[in-house]
Amino acid sequence: MLTKFVDTDSDFNLEVAAEYGYKLVSMPYSIDGKTIYPYEDFTTFDPHSFYEMLRGGVVPTTSAISEEKYTAYFEPEFAAGNDILYIHFSRAMSMTFDTMDKAVAALLQKYPGRKFYEVDTKGITIVSYLMARELGDLLNKGMTAEEAVEWGKKEVDHYVQYFFADDLKFMRHSGRVSGLAATMGGLIGLRPVIHMSTEGKMESIGTVKGRTQVMERLVQYVEQTGLDIKKHRFIIGHTDAPALVEQLSQMLHQRFGEDLQIECVTTNPTAGSHCGPNGVGIAFYARNRWK
């Protein structure tokens, strides 16, 4: 038997995870010293309350999970004789995977013969969500774990993500985005546009002034790089910005037709802690990642 895992940084909630039979690895965030594990410490995420808190000045922190926690996720599966496939967010973005490697190495020694497969989506939130959904479909159709790993390596650069943040404060605090301009930004509507590099890191690829203009830039990226976008899922993710999502959806439908199937996803709180409220992003199938 193969047990499939996906993590909460990939924007999966309990409901969507259950749809594919995925088990969730919960990536925590902390507020005022209290660590919260999404979908373990709560079952339903209330994005508006969470991002309102950030608008009020709270800047959460995030942390890697412990070896013990990974062991607690994975050992019961190995003990039951199952192999594991873990579709996860980018290795290049967190040290948590070093800890995971230690846990997995110890478990594989303890349970010889068991196998651990992983697919690195080289992204986070919606692009990981998109890949895990499309891979989930393939697995449900009979794809094997080995084939899934190969698929991940071959396809990952076709899955792209572009997003913008509204408030540079969170991005600066996060320290996870390279290339951010040294300007303070302030209230002049300057927003960095960020993508996931082929190495699986967040990079700022420009700054756009104006809310409509930044969304036009996202549409441009779809025009320039999109490939068979209607044969794949098209995802819009947001950090509590429903009006912007609506506007962007309209712009996309206007440009690519009403038959473009758009799925809207709320950004998970852990990744959202690094982006801040009022951010919007898109993930879709493309010729390749931005070089």
Binding site: S63, I65, S66, K69, A181, T183, I188
Partner: protein, 553 residues
């Protein structure tokens, strides 16, 4: 004063004054402590190490006896990586002064070289760009011949150390990224500075207790049940070698301990002084290390600190707060500091949020003086100070102050409105190395901004084709009246209609202290509906005089 001979008494006084100087700057040195891992506070660790030595140092004995007692005290008191290295520097100096009742300049210079060797030898993997480099380049920078007295020798040492310290960010990218110089090197320069003070007769006695009283308590809750031991433990111990375990202590090769530690942890500093081995190591498993090394001796002291907690402690401190009496070489000097003139709590906050260091209260009805500017300049430590006067009546005073100021280059950017100054400050590229290029870019930004003001007319007038009645609200740009209406929102809307609002990506609407927020909200909604492509950003500016300031950028 000319001192050609160093006595024990003088050396003791010099080191003591070094401790005074370091004490006065230790918070500033702590604030530089961003490298290589959170390992306590460099300033505190170096001070406590030096203090332990000064307390043990014989005050009135031969030079070699003073140096040996100082070194022994520091050995026992050494804390942290930087403290341990400092203790090895003084151990090396002591070795170099061994047997001397007093020393001339050449003998002391040779002892300092011995200090350099001892420090490098104590560290398993010497890293350049650290205290080691600052010491070595400092000592190498003093001419080998022709320095007649210790005052000149120390002056030359300080000059070379300063240059070396300033160069550390070029050697270590992590320092450059953080915009700081090496903390250990800065601490060492403080000590040498104090020693030089004593040589020149500048003695002060005030020194605080070794344990930093004002040090914030470690927040134990920062390491909770689910926390990850990200940085391991800073582990230090003094081990007394035991004959029963290693045989004749003198014949025991203590390098086996260092070799073991090198394999077991990071940031290893380990050395032997007689039968005592002092070690510092970063490890995730201190228990294993202590169990292992106990095969060679018994512990005199052990200190283990969770560095993840220390890291939390560092992050909650204000990294750039400045201590009084701060030496210039430990300051975090900004490349650019910004001064702006503004009034209204919301407007002032906007400027601060945009990274403006000093906001001087003022504006249309209250023009600050040149003196106000000079005082603001003094509160900023930057290579270049940029000034946004934000009103044409204030530009001259700002320029006058700029001409008078000598401690930094001051550039007045002649912003004539809050809008010009704010947009330019918020989009300033602080990484730009070329000030002239920066100024040109700021000017271009300011030229692209339009600021429309809405205020109440105090008399009837007919101007620019607009009829104004006393009490009307008028909308105007650079003194040109665009609209007049008894309703402030209508005056604003009509003025906006005459500006190229649709041609701008963003309009910032600041409402004043006399404008009800629900009215302001209504204006924002109306403008957003009229100009859907323009992002309207509302802010409670709480400014006096102007009911609205509308900034187009």
């Amino acid at each position: 004063m000319i001192t050609e001979t160093l006595t024990g008494k003088l050396f003791s006084a010099m080191v003591s004054q070094g401790a005074v100087k370091l004490d006065g700057n230790r918070q500033a040195v702590n604030d530089l402590n961003v490298f290589p891992v959170p390992d306590g506070d460099t300033g505190d660790n170096m001070y406590m190490t030096l203090d332990a030595g000064v307390r043990e140092a014989a005050a009135d004995a031969s030079l070699s006896e003073v140096a040996a007692s100082l070194s022994h005290g520091m050995l026992l008191g050494a804390r942290g990586n930087s403290g341990v290295i400092l203790s090895r520097i003084f151990a090396g100096i002591s070795e170099g002064l061994s047997g001397l009742d007093q020393a001339d300049v050449k003998q002391f210079a040779a002892a300092m070289k011995s200090g350099v060797e001892s420090a490098y030898h104590a560290v398993s993997n010497p890293v350049e760009g650290t205290i080691l480099t600052v010491l070595r380049e400092g000592v190498e920078g003093v001419p080998a011949e022709g320095v007649p007295d210790l005052e000149q020798w120390f002056a030359a040492l300080m000059e070379a150390m300063r240059a070396s310290l300033a160069h550390t960010p070029e050697l270590l990218p992590v320092l450059k990224d953080a915009g700081v110089v090496d903390s250990g090197g800065a601490g060492l320069l403080c000590i040498v500075d104090g020693m030089h003070d004593a040589l020149c007769g500048r003695i002060s006695e005030s020194r605080s207790a070794a344990d930093p009283a004002g040090k914030p308590a470690v927040r134990l809750d920062d390491f909770g049940p689910d926390s990850v031991l990200e940085f391991g433990y800073c582990t230090e111990f003094l081990l007394r070698l035991q004959t029963a375990k290693v045989g004749p202590v003198d014949a025991f090769d203590a390098s086996v301990i260092k070799d073991y530690l090198d394999g077991a942890g990071d940031s290893v500093v380990c050395f032997r002084d007689g039968s005592i081995v002092k070690a510092h190591v970063h490890t995730h498993t201190p228990g294993e290390i202590l169990s292992h090394v106990q095969r060679w001796g018994e512990f005199l002291t052990v200190k283990i600190e969770n560095m993840t907690l220390q890291h939390s402690e560092v992050t909650i401190q204000d990294h750039f707060s400045q201590a009084p009496q701060q030496a210039d070489y430990v300051r975090h000097r900004l490349r650019y500091g910004i001064v702006a003139v503004a009034s209204g709590a919301g407007v002032v906050q906007m400027f601060k949020d945009a990274g403006v260091e000093e906001v001087i209260a003022g504006g249309q009805t209250m023009n600050p003086s040149a003196q106000d500017f000079l005082e603001a300049f003094d509160r900023i430590d930057a290579e270049t100070i940029l000034v946004f006067p934000n009103n044409s009546n204030i530009i001259l005073a700002a320029r006058q102050a700029a001409e008078l100021y000598r401690k930094a280059r001051v550039v007045v950017l002649p912003s004539k409105s809050i809008g010009e100054g704010y947009v330019a400050a918020a989009s300033l590229d602080r990484d730009c190395h070329d000030t002239d290029e920066l100024v040109a870019s700021v000017q271009e930004t300011m030229d692209s901004v339009q600021t429309c003001l809405v205020s109440r007319a105090i008399r009837d007038t007919q101007q620019d084709g607009v009829t104004v009645h006393e009490g009307d609200y008028i909308g105007f740009v650079h003194g040109r009246i665009l609209s007049a209406d008894p309703d402030r929102n209508e005056a604003a809307r009509l003025a906006a209609a005459q500006l190229d609002l649709a041609g701008h990506d963003v309009a910032l609407v600041l409402w004043g202290q006399d404008t009800p927020s629900d009215q302001a909200q209504a204006l924002v909604e109306r403008l957003q509906a009229d100009y859907p492509r323009t992002e309207i950003i509302p802010t409670d500016g709480a400014q006096p005089v102007y009911d609205y300031i509308i900034v187009l950028c």
